[in-house]
């Protein structure tokens, strides 16, 4: 059964006619040029935007769900994150427990171990490097133990090592009854890590399906206005931009 079902989603001029499902155990990648509506789509699912159409979570209308109920199941990892105050890492991760109204040390500790930030629990988050901070923000999301993570370009400003680590964690999360929607710019990583891809163009779905179905030279030319060579024959898919 689908975790999330989206029917005829519309958001003023940013999104139109979106139909989509997120299956259990799926890592769904959202790709598309800047301004295609990737963030807007995630914000609608996270309950940040008043949309038209219908989004269902396990067959329940998302709009009918109480904010806290929704937040316990769906967590958003925003594109840019910054703490206004010099909070300690432990307190930032504990923020993920807000929808539950507790500061249960068990999930907090587990999230810290998963993301490898346990050793900095008493450090101030603003003293960490960008890559280290990104892991703390992810730990915050994991501490809430949501079923669905909406990650908005979590790889931006990360070096190759941390990009791999974050993708591994998201892949690991997308199992059993859980799922991840990931907005991502790097098409090679998207093709390698995601089960399915959604290609957005100017607020509309251009293509949806397996990476091989979506990432065709024709689609890339149409949406990104580039000529690219696509090779799915190797161990890792390869998209090379020509000229």
């Amino acid at each position: 059964m689908a975790l999330i079902t989206i029917e005829q989603l519309q958001l003023d001029s940013r999104l139109a006619g979106i139909n989509l499902t997120l299956e259990a155990g799926e890592l769904l990648g959202v790709i598309g040029p800047n301004g295609a509506g990737k963030s807007s789509l995630l914000e609608c699912i996270a309950g940040l935007q008043a949309y038209n159409g219908r989004i269902e979570l396990d067959g329940q209308n998302l709009n009918r769900l109480h904010g806290l109920q929704r937040a316990r199941r769906i967590a958003l990892l925003p594109q840019r994150c910054q703490s206004a105050w010099a909070l300690k890492v432990a307190d930032v991760i504990a923020l993920g427990r807000l929808p539950w109204g507790d500061e249960d040390p068990e999930p907090i500790g587990q999230a810290a171990r998963q993301t490898g930030v346990s050793t900095w629990m008493d450090a101030r988050v603003d003293h960490l490097s960008g890559g280290e901070q990104a892991r703390v923000w992810l730990a915050r999301v994991l501490a809430g133990r949501p079923d669905i993570i909406l990650a908005d370009e979590p790889l931006a400003s990360l070096d190759l090592h941390y990009q791999q680590r974050v993708l591994e964690l998201l892949r690991e999360h997308a199992q059993l009854q859980r799922g991840v929607i990931l907005s991502i710019h790097d098409l090679n990583l998207a093709a390698h890590w995601c089960d399915r891809l959604l290609l957005l163009d100017a607020g509309r779905i251009h293509a949806i399906g397996t990476p091989q179905q979506v990432l065709t030279p024709a689609a890339l030319r149409q949406v990104y206005e580039i000529d690219a060579e696509v090779d799915f024959s190797g161990r890792q898919p390869l998209i090379r931009v020509l000229g």
């Binding site: 904010g67 206004a84 909070l87 307190d91 915050r140």
Partner: protein
């Protein structure tokens, strides 16, 4: 942490009862006053020093807590009732009602009620002016609103029927807790409890807002409703305290910064300690005011501003370094 502050507050309050121009047995006086005796000691302690002390404590608590709430809500370490225009709005509302005898139905609470309305309007205008990019624009919008309300306040005092009104601009802008009776506490205390309760009910939102509006909302916290409640709570605190004691500047800025390191910078755990520390600070400042040679009473706000303004300058300096 909190128990230590409560103890410190009680000690400050006790010290405040001992400070005055006349030599009087404090505890005897207090006992006599409680028994309803009409001795000089009872009158000095019960009707002069005790109301003054309690008012300083409540006003300080209200300002400290509203400062902590506004800084948390606006995610700006410079937010303070004075710098966001709330204090001047409250002074405008309270003074209009006080000098012209408006809202007679509300009785003694009329200035506080008008102060609440004034503070709420000033803060709403400030938020509207600051727009969605709130964090950075708050201070500029606050400056605009506080300048406007300050000018309106001067105009109101100018046209007040009492010839001394205009010279009392100093009180409204600098504040004082001298020469007040216990009846003022009857207005301030409910406002403190109600306003503090509203803000306290939104402490989770304040914590969630550390990572931004988006994150707070994605965690199921209602920003629209919660921020309105926080503004209303802060308006209650600022409105009532300004109506009774004038705008005592920089307490709302200073106190949260002093307390923040003690609560690991968590905006939700800041609220109660900030209220306690505000009470201690204003009471201490008032003790110093009373220590000054008699004749020329230094306004309470002058003292708090002398402590607070350097901190403000330091914070601006910090902010500047952040952007360089």
């Amino acid at each position: 942490m909190t128990p230590a502050l409560i103890l410190l507050m009680l000690l400050t309050a006790l010290a405040s009862l001992y400070v005055g121009s006349t030599d009087i047995a404090v505890l005897d006086g207090l006992w006599q006053w409680l028994q309803g005796t009409d001795s000089a000691a009872a009158i000095v302690i019960g009707e002069i020093r005790l109301p003054r002390t309690l008012l300083a404590l409540t006003v300080g608590a209200a300002l400290g807590m509203s400062g902590a709430a506004l800084q948390g809500l606006l995610r700006n370490p410079l937010a303070d009732p004075g710098l966001t225009g709330a204090s001047q709005g409250a002074a405008l509302g309270a003074a209009s009602v006080f000098y012209f005898g408006l809202l007679p139905a509300a009785g003694a609470a009329a200035p506080a009620l008008a102060g609440l309305i004034g503070a709420a309007i000033a803060m709403s205008l400030m938020l509207m002016l600051a727009g969605p990019s709130r964090q950075g624009m708050v201070i500029m919008a606050g400056l605009a609103i506080s300048t406007l309300t300050g000018a309106l306040l001067a105009a109101v005092l100018n046209f007040a029927p009492n010839p001394f009104a205009l010279s009392e601009l100093v009180f409204w802008l600098l504040g004082s807790v001298s020469e007040r009776g216990l009846d003022h506490l009857g207005i301030l205390l409910p406002a403190l409890l109600l306003g503090g309760g509203l803000i306290w009910s939104q402490r989770r939102l304040l914590l969630g807002l550390s990572l931004g509006e988006q994150v707070a909302q994605s965690m199921g916290l209602s920003y629209a409703r919660g921020s309105r409640l926080i503004i209303l709570g802060a308006a209650l605190l600022v409105g009532a305290s300004v109506a009774v004691a004038g705008a005592i500047g920089f307490v709302g800025l200073l106190v949260p910064h002093l307390v923040r390191p003690l609560v690991r910078n968590r905006p939700d755990r800041l609220l109660i300690p900030a209220a306690l520390a505000g009470a201690i600070l204003v009471c201490l400042a008032d003790i110093v005011v009373r220590w000054m040679p008699p004749g020329r009473e230094l306004k309470l706000g002058v003292l708090t501003s002398l402590i607070g303004a350097p901190l403000f300058i330091w914070l601006v300096w910090q902010e500047r370094r952040k952007w360089l």
